[in-house]
């Protein structure tokens, strides 16, 4: 049954392909680490090169898959060190990753993120190997109505992030959703808030959004620190470099849970690493954050999104390989690469081109081992980026931001937009807003609106469609439970247990 995989390892372990996996992992890490230049661009840029070099199909695919997984590893680097997410999947990584770096634990944080990325990816690849055809069936069961229920669930799970200022969290999320409505309405084709500017028709680009919101506002904030006279933490201390086994083991629950969540979300076409990271982080916060340490540099808060975004990346291969349907932007590019080689992914690929299907899956296993081996020892080197003086670091961030946006758009409007969003982000941060709800609102809001409207278009306006399937009903119940239980449970428990034992211990594992 697993002939294709044995065959695949045979293909992937040839010196050429092993070398390509290594090269891809390295380049991918680099692409992921540069803000704005994510896996999609990395693959799109290198795809024609692989083709021109005359690499055979399976080798090209191995190179590209290694870039993809490498980028997911690399995306965390600037999240942790600079509080600037390297790509969409790494937004949630900033929440606990950067505080850890500020505490002088940049090295261990990078190490831990490499380990959790490895664990998440491994869970997903195992799932991919064992259940791919079955999972593909489940993935298509998600229609517009189910996606709408999933988005309601995602918003409900965000309620845990309300924190100390619920009004500002809510305003942030609403602003994020509103930013997401700019552009052509993807149902009716009507232009919303574009003011006649063609540059806005496609909406405000995700990369422009995260670079502006995080990188540009970070530069402005750094100015403040540089200028402060009483500087006590101008440059964070560089503590120890390596993560201890004990710390890794303390996060094992978070990694496994988040790996599973990320994998499942990655399988669904249309939702990617950003949603996977968000849901896993909020879930983990709900499960493990008993002392309120999430957001202040809790290792589990770093492990969760890291495991999840890598698992999502691998998960999105499921619909692509089994159905020929891309589950994410990056797999859409990979699909294009396959077409270049006249390979049509789909149910027939495993039997007709086993060396490609098997080689790809085998290279995912190998790529992850390579990445772990590459990233653990280098954590210390990368952590030293923090010791670079600000007068070098800030221009560096500025260059990366400009190039990242420019190479995506070849257009100045996008750069101006980035600067405006940067000022907006700076003001929000000064006013005590957290940026995560803004980004999550932006990502989830559009999906929620469009899927609601798609469902109602399909049913001809009949609202029943929203709770017609078992999956939707399950998600609605889960969402309701998320909102009601935290409020209801303590009351119930105090009623049942007059001894007033703190509830935290009830679910302690």
């Amino acid at each position: 049954m697993f002939d294709f995989l044995i065959h695949g390892f045979g293909v992937a372990l040839t010196p050429l392909n092993l070398g390509l996996a290594f090269l891809g992992a390295l380049l991918g890490t680099m692409f992921g680490a540069l803000p704005g230049i994510g896996p999609i661009n990395g693959i799109a840029i290198l795809m024609p090169l692989a083709y021109t070099l005359g690499l055979p199909a399976e080798s090209a695919l191995i190179l590209l898959a290694a870039i993809y997984t490498g980028a997911e590893y690399g995306g965390r680097m600037s999240s942790i060190l600079l509080n600037v997410p390297g790509d969409a999947g790494a937004v949630m990584t900033t929440l606990d990753g950067h505080p850890l770096a500020k505490k002088g634990l940049a090295g261990p944080a990078l190490g831990l993120s490499a380990v959790s990325s490895f664990v998440g990816a491994t869970i997903a690849i195992l799932g991919l190997t064992l259940f791919a055809p079955l999972l593909a069936e489940v993935a298509v069961m998600f229609g517009p109505a189910e996606f709408f229920a999933l988005m309601i669930f995602a918003f409900a799970s965000m309620s845990v992030m309300m924190g100390k200022d619920p009004i500002k969290t809510a305003i942030g999320a609403v602003l994020g959703i509103l930013i997401g409505t700019v552009g052509v309405d993807s149902s009716t084709g009507v232009m919303r808030y574009t003011f006649g500017m063609p540059e806005l028709y496609d909406g405000i680009d995700f990369v422009v959004m995260i670079i502006g919101l995080f990188a540009i506002s970070e530069i402005l904030l750094m100015l403040e620190h540089a200028n402060r006279q009483d500087d006590e933490d101008d440059i964070p201390p560089l503590g120890r470099v390596f993560i201890s086994l004990k710390e890794v083991l303390a996060c094992k629950g978070a990694m496994v849970r988040s790996g599973l969540i990320g994998f499942i979300i990655g399988i669904l076409p249309g939702t990617g690493a950003s949603v996977g990271g968000a849901v896993s982080y909020t879930t983990e916060k709900r499960i493990s954050d008993k002392d309120g340490t999430f957001g202040t540099g809790d290792m589990r808060g770093l492990a969760a999104p890291e495991a999840a975004n890598n698992a999502s990346a691998a998960g999105s291969f499921v619909p692509m390989l089994t159905l020929g349907i891309p589950g994410s932007g990056t797999t859409a590019v990979l699909l294009g690469a396959l077409m270049l080689y006249n390979i049509t992914p789909g149910p027939m690929m495993f039997s007709e081109r086993p060396e490609v299907a098997g080689g790809l899956i085998a290279s995912l296993y190998i790529g992850n081992v390579v990445l772990l081996a590459l990233n653990l020892p280098l954590a210390g080197v990368f952590a030293r980026i923090l010791t670079i003086p600000r007068w070098v670091l800030v221009p560096g961030i500025a260059i990366l931001s400009f190039v990242g946006v420019y190479q995506l758009h070849s257009d100045l409007t996008a750069i101006f937009l980035m600067l405006i969003i940067g000022v907006f982000g700076y003001l929000l941060r000064k006013l005590g807003f957290s940026l995560a709800p803004v980004i999550l609102g932006y990502v989830l809001g559009g999906l929620m609106e469009q899927n609601l409207r798609r469902a109602l278009s399909a049913s001809g306006g009949d609202i029943d469609i929203l709770w017609r399937s078992g999956i939707s009903i399950g998600l609605w119940i889960a969402a309701a439970a998320l909102l009601v239980l935290p409020w209801l449970l303590p009351k119930l428990i105090t009623k049942l247990q007059p001894s007033n034992r703190p509830m935290a211990q009830v679910e302690d594992d």
Binding site: I45, I171, T188, L220, W391, G396, A398, Q407, L419, L452
Partner: protein
């Protein structure tokens, strides 16, 4: 009474909400297959935003620390440098604009002139070749450079 930052924000956001709602109502929709349409969502959000903002107006949080005058000037300076960078980026090409921007930013972040200029040269030339040759990203070369290469 001192106007708290949150109050001001609340007022600005209420205005924004009104603007969003008016724009949504003015949308012209020839064909829509769903009863919700493109207007409902922004309208609902505008109402929600207005309500949340009013809470902020009447119950503002603590007033944060705001930059004093010298810092505000520096912030505007940094933004100005980046704006000029953007404006000249395609016209003068990557290397020369990046050199100027890096040197200026380094100066603003308290580097000496020497250091700032050296950083500028190293970073602009180094990153140009890193991006174009190693990563295959095309950058504006600037027309004046073409005669050189």
């Amino acid at each position: 009474m001192k106007l708290a930052a949150d109050r001001l924000l609340g007022i600005v956001l209420t205005g924004l909400a009104a603007f969003i709602a008016v724009q949504a109502l003015r949308l012209n929709v020839p064909i829509s297959y769903d009863p919700v349409g493109p207007k409902a969502f922004p309208l609902g959000l505008a109402i929600l935003l207005a309500m949340l903002s009013l809470v902020l107006v009447f119950k503002p949080g603590e007033d944060g620390q705001w930059p004093h005058r010298a810092l505000t000037l520096k912030i505007l300076l940094v933004l100005g440098v980046m704006l000029i960078y953007a404006l000249l980026f395609t016209r003068l090409g990557f290397i020369i604009t990046t050199l100027m921007t890096v040197a200026m930013l380094a100066r603003i972040f308290d580097a000496s002139w020497n250091r700032a200029l050296i950083t500028g040269v190293v970073m602009s030339v180094g990153s140009f070749f890193l991006f174009t040759d190693a990563l295959g990203i095309s950058l504006p070369g600037g027309y004046w450079l073409e005669t050189w290469f």
